[in-house]
């Protein structure tokens, strides 16, 4: 443990954002946290899941759209990270780096932002046979442990992805409403998980960070074999080099990506699809800014 993971993440985040990252998730998820009513901050558009009692009826009447009052959260907030630590996350990301490193970096950014406020942050992950769970804590040691747990839990030997189980588990073990960041890959949460995800959004403010997979054909790099972590089978050079196969595969992946994007948009879940470790910090900050902007517009 030459350098702690959190330090490494901090260095990256600072490099990308200097101080602009600060305050990114301040005032976030207001609707999910009980405002004290003491420190009125802002109005924002009503979103499904917001409490109806928070609606500022006068403002709503003025603007013609449902608005709710936001208050500065004075209490300690709860954050949670739902990390996909299946074998698939040990594979290669679209930019050629490890998806695991990108996941750790994404979790690290959340941890870093939570650390600024002293928020509590917990972890849900693992698999049905070997679930991983960390309670919500805020100490530096805890954050480091959280990142290490994600890093070490994600191995090629782990079971395959089971997003249905993961979402169900996340719903069951985090009874308190949290700002929940789901870190998974481009194929998850699957469109079949729509119901589970919707149920999750009723309790939590959900963000989804998806890490794009490497091309399963890698047609330009025939010197290296391509092996699926779940299903090791030989993909022949002929299939990998074929333009038609590449076209069909790309069409399938685009349809899958778009299906998931559409589902997440429908649930009003902030989400981002990032290429890997090299882009994850930038993409997440952009997502958080867009979220902030959306909130601030109100």
């Amino acid at each position: 443990m030459a350098t702690s993971l959190i330090t490494r993440v901090k260095a990256r985040v600072d490099l990308h954002t200097s101080n602009r990252a600060r305050g990114l998730i301040q005032g976030r998820g207001r609707s999910m946290f009980k405002g004290s009513g003491e420190d009125f901050d802002d109005l924002k558009y009503y979103q499904p899941g917001d409490k109806i009692s928070d609606i500022d009826w006068k403002a709503t009447a003025r603007s013609g759209e449902p608005l709710i009052r936001q208050f500065n959260e004075e209490r300690v907030r709860h954050l949670s990270i739902v990390a996909d630590t299946s074998a698939g996350m040990a594979a290669t990301a679209a930019d050629g780096t490890s998806k695991r490193d990108a996941a750790v970096m994404a979790a690290g950014l959340i941890c870093f932002l939570a650390q600024q406020n002293g928020d509590l942050i917990g972890l849900v992950g693992g698999s049905e046979g070997r679930p991983l769970q960390l309670p919500a804590r805020s100490s530096d040691g805890h954050l480091e442990l959280l990142l290490r747990t994600i890093q070490q839990g994600t191995t090629a030997g782990a079971p395959g992805p089971d997003s249905a189980w993961l979402l169900e588990r996340a719903f069951r073990v985090t009874s308190r409403s949290t700002l929940m960041t789901i870190i998974t890959d481009e194929a998850h949460p699957a469109v079949e998980d729509f119901a589970a995800l919707r149920r999750l959004t009723t309790r939590h403010d959900v963000m989804v960070v998806r890490i794009a997979d490497a091309d399963p054909l890698l047609g330009e790099d025939l010197d290296h074999e391509v092996v699926d972590v779940e299903q090791p089978r030989e993909v022949t050079a002929l299939a990998r080099g074929s333009a038609k196969v590449a076209r069909d595969v790309e069409a399938y992946r685009r349809a899958r990506r778009e299906g998931i994007t559409e589902m997440l948009d429908r649930l009003h879940v902030s989400h981002v699809l990032t290429q890997g470790e090299t882009t994850v910090v930038e993409d997440m900050i952009a997502m958080l800014r867009a979220r902030e902007y959306r909130h601030a517009r109100a």
């Binding site: 594979a91 391509v226 022949t236 002929l238 299939a239 595969v249």
Partner: protein
């Protein structure tokens, strides 16, 4: 079919096996680190991908098969597959006179000699053959000639005609068709010029010796004399004189004696001494089936005398394996290019 350099073939096949074994044991080491990807299970559902996979598999099997065929064919080619024949240099300057005693006791042996000779004629190239038969007098069936069609035809006709048990026919124990009878009497006509005499062997041998022409040419001359030497009558020559006359003309005498009929061992003794004194050879067998072996032996003896040792002649047969190697190499290239 033999392989002249069979050890080269074995060596190449071993080398091929060794190369395969080395690559097989090191197949992990030769592989570059694989790129791990996830969520690619859907590939199985893409028809074009499945088609490409199947096609690639077919091409690979073809490649391996072709490589094996190529290596096998190349090593066979390297081993020099050849046709091996034991060839005796031709006796193209050989004259053979068949001198057969056609008395009643000899008909089985004569038949066999004629049949065997007829079979051998097909392999002749340049030799000349004549047939002379005698009983009390001598008849030349055909003189020395190298018209093998004629020789064979005559020998076969003769062997059929002579297959006639005259004593049996007289005694009534054997019955023959009229045609057969006529053929026999036609064939032996002229061999009974003197009544009440039979098997005048010395005179028969002497007249056989007269059949050789081209005396000035350097040719190998031989007489194959088949007789039981049971002389009934007064010959002009003695057997010894006849043999001497033959030997004086540098003719090798091969005598076949089938065993006594009525005569005691004195007949054989006389025949043996007369033949061997003048450098001839006597073969003795009461079994007609031994005749092919004896004729073969005569052939060999003659070959040795002429200094012609049988040699092994090998002809390379590279055609099939050369084509196979070439085709498989071209096919490997085509398949290899196709599977890129």
């Amino acid at each position: 079919m033999v392989m002249i350099l069979w050890w080269v073939t074995a060596l190449l096949l071993l080398a091929g096996l060794a190369v395969w074994a080395i690559t097989f044991w090191n197949r992990r080491a030769m592989r570059t680190a694989p790129v791990l990807v996830a969520n690619s299970r859907f590939l199985e559902r893409i028809p074009s991908f499945q088609r490409a996979q199947r096609w690639a598999r077919v091409l690979r099997v073809a490649q391996v098969g072709l490589a094996v065929i190529g290596v096998l064919a190349a090593s066979m080619l390297a081993g020099r597959v050849a046709d091996e024949r034991i060839e005796t240099p031709s006796f193209d300057s050989r004259d053979i006179v068949l001198c057969l005693d056609v008395s009643g006791s000899m008909y089985q042996y004569d038949t066999e000699i004629l049949t065997t000779m007829a079979d051998m004629v097909q392999d002749f190239d340049g030799e000349r053959v004549a047939l002379s038969i005698f009983n009390s007098t001598s008849r030349t069936v055909f003189p020395l000639t190298n018209d093998y069609d004629l020789i064979e035809r005559e020998l076969r006709e003769a062997s059929e005609a002579i297959d006639f048990d005259e004593a049996g026919a007289y005694a009534g124990t054997q019955s023959y068709s009229d045609e057969k009878r006529a053929a026999y009497y036609d064939f032996v006509a002229g061999t009974r010029g003197i009544d009440d005499e039979a098997s005048i062997v010395p005179d028969g041998l002497a007249s056989c010796g007269q059949l050789f022409d081209q005396a000035e040419e350097d040719r190998s001359r031989s007489i194959i004399l088949a007789t039981d030497n049971e002389v009934n009558g007064e010959p002009i020559f003695t057997l010894d004189e006849a043999a001497e006359g033959v030997a004086a003309r540098d003719i090798s005498l091969y005598t076949f004696y089938p065993g006594s009929y009525e005569c005691s061992s004195s007949c054989l003794e006389e025949l043996r001494s007369a033949t061997e004194e003048h450098g001839g050879t006597v073969f003795e067998s009461s079994d007609p089936d031994a005749i092919p072996t004896i004729l073969d032996q005569i052939q060999r003896t003659q070959a040795e005398e002429m200094g012609a040792t049988p040699t092994v002649v090998r002809t390379d047969l590279p055609g099939a394996f050369f084509v196979l190697t070439l085709v498989s190499l071209v096919a490997i290239l085509v398949v290899g290019w196709r599977s890129r």
